[in-house]
Subunit: 288 residues, 2 copies
């Protein structure tokens, strides 16, 4: 059993991107520039935006954080986005979600210029991804595809079961892995809350993407020997330790890990890869 | 075994749409207006556009056909589309494919205003469909979903196998049938040319969508009793009759039909439904 080390892979890619930025600057190019909009005082959102700012600094990107009070109007926010869309110095734009309830998130997402939409949430980017056209793939699917690529995991002709049909993980994964691409060319089954017998499907799977958000859902008896396991879940559960909690995935690691060929740990698997997608997409938005 | 009669269903929906148009006019509304662009002299394309024009007349839509020589430039065509985008009298626009080789089809598709894109080919519409947002669904997937709905076929929790991953049939079908919707909520497996053993999957399927374009591919031994069979294929094969050919689907009808609960015939199944999607989408584009 081989651990798919998301932390080490993410660190490696950061070094590659930093080298790429040096090369751009040497050739007289401009630093890639990511703008992030943060509305309100939500603690988790502040932490996430902070991590993104730090990652930009690590690779040599310029970053701009626009912080607004949660009392701003939707139209004010739309106008701010329009200004960034029109600003040629800014390559990529993200709006940290969730937004205050009085603001229509979908309208906000659809206001971002698809060419600067480095979160890959605009329907045009989703459509381009599904059609196999060049696009910005969103964070978690990009991170998983990159892990599969970096570890040279064979996917062609494999049976892949995706558990969960969310718009941000399960559905894009099913679309990406079933495409004529590498990684890709899997026979993909997408399971969800209405699936009658998930085990019937997972037992036949060479690759399982667990993205349903139920802690330790995937148990040893549901997995065939030698399968590749990607665990997207991350939930805080109470524990008898100093912090009072531990982080667990959607996979019961102690049962599943001895049976499989590759597995992502939680934490340190898919998680660290997601922020890299933002860096990669910003580099692409800048034209590199 | 019940035949899913696409011809009769399509005729019924045409009558419903015609009644809707009468109602719109009675209330002082404007006739829905579909514009079609036809480039060159391809015989099949002329026939298809002719059918669409006739269907518009049958339900009381206005239709405009713009016929251009195959020597027009790409920029000329782009400008024509921009003019139609800006014309408030035209609700829906289709560009008949294929286009001459010197014209970039993808650029043309992406020039059509997504709000007038009644073929549902613009990436923004594809993305909206995948995300479960209101969108124009393309012809064949729309027709299949409507047939399932009209015949009240239970899909929730069923195992559905889609054979074929094309952007115009297999992929949208997999996305639509796996969504939280009615019809929908299926556990969907998408099989294709790289799938190792398609029979292993189809034998477990409650619903099979055959859309791979190989005549009579799906044979009796690949289907379990009581399955619902949707045959998207339509190929001309040589035959000893007056016309010298017959039309066959991707399903070996004589073997499969005795085993299944519902089946679409070829011709007269999915085919006649596709043109109806254009009428339905144009009505929607007109705001009804």
């Amino acid at each position: 059993m081989i651990i798919l080390d998301g932390k080490a892979t993410a660190d490696k890619i950061k070094i590659e991107i930093a080298a790429k930025v040096d090369e751009i600057l040497l050739k007289g190019g401009k630093r890639p520039h990511l703008a992030a909009i943060l509305v309100g005082e939500d603690g988790a959102s502040q932490t996430y935006v902070g991590h993104k700012e730090k990652a930009c600094a690590q690779v040599g990107f310029t970053s701009t954080i626009l912080r607004f009070s949660d009392t701003i109007t939707e139209d004010f926010l739309i106008n701010e986005i329009a200004a960034i869309n029109a600003n040629p110095d800014i390559d990529g734009l993200i709006v940290q979600l969730p937004l205050p309830k009085h603001i229509n998130e979908q309208r906000v997402i659809e206001t971002i210029d698809p060419k600067k939409d480095v979160d890959g949430f605009h329907p045009e980017n989703v459509g381009r991804m599904v059609l196999g056209l060049p696009s910005f793939v969103s964070a978690t699917p990009w991170g998983i595809m990159e892990l599969l690529k970096r570890y040279s995991i064979e996917t062609s002709g494999k049976n892949c079961v995706v558990i969960g049909r969310s718009n941000i993980v399960g559905r894009p994964m099913a679309n990406l892995l079933s495409q004529k691409s590498k990684p890709g060319d899997c026979t993909v089954t997408i399971c969800h809350s209405r699936t009658k017998d998930i085990k019937e499907h997972t037992l036949n799977a060479d690759i399982i993407i667990a993205a349903l958000g139920i802690p330790e859902f995937l148990t040893g008896d549901m997995v065939k020997d030698g399968a590749v396991i990607i665990d997207v879940g991350i939930t805080r559960v109470k524990a008898d330790n100093k912090s009072g909690f531990r982080l667990v995935g959607d996979v019961l690691f102690r049962e599943v890990s001895p049976k499989c060929s590759y597995i992502t740990p939680v934490p340190g698997g898919v998680g660290p890869m997601t922020i890299i997608s933002l860096l990669n997409n910003t580099l692409k938005a800048a034209g590199y």
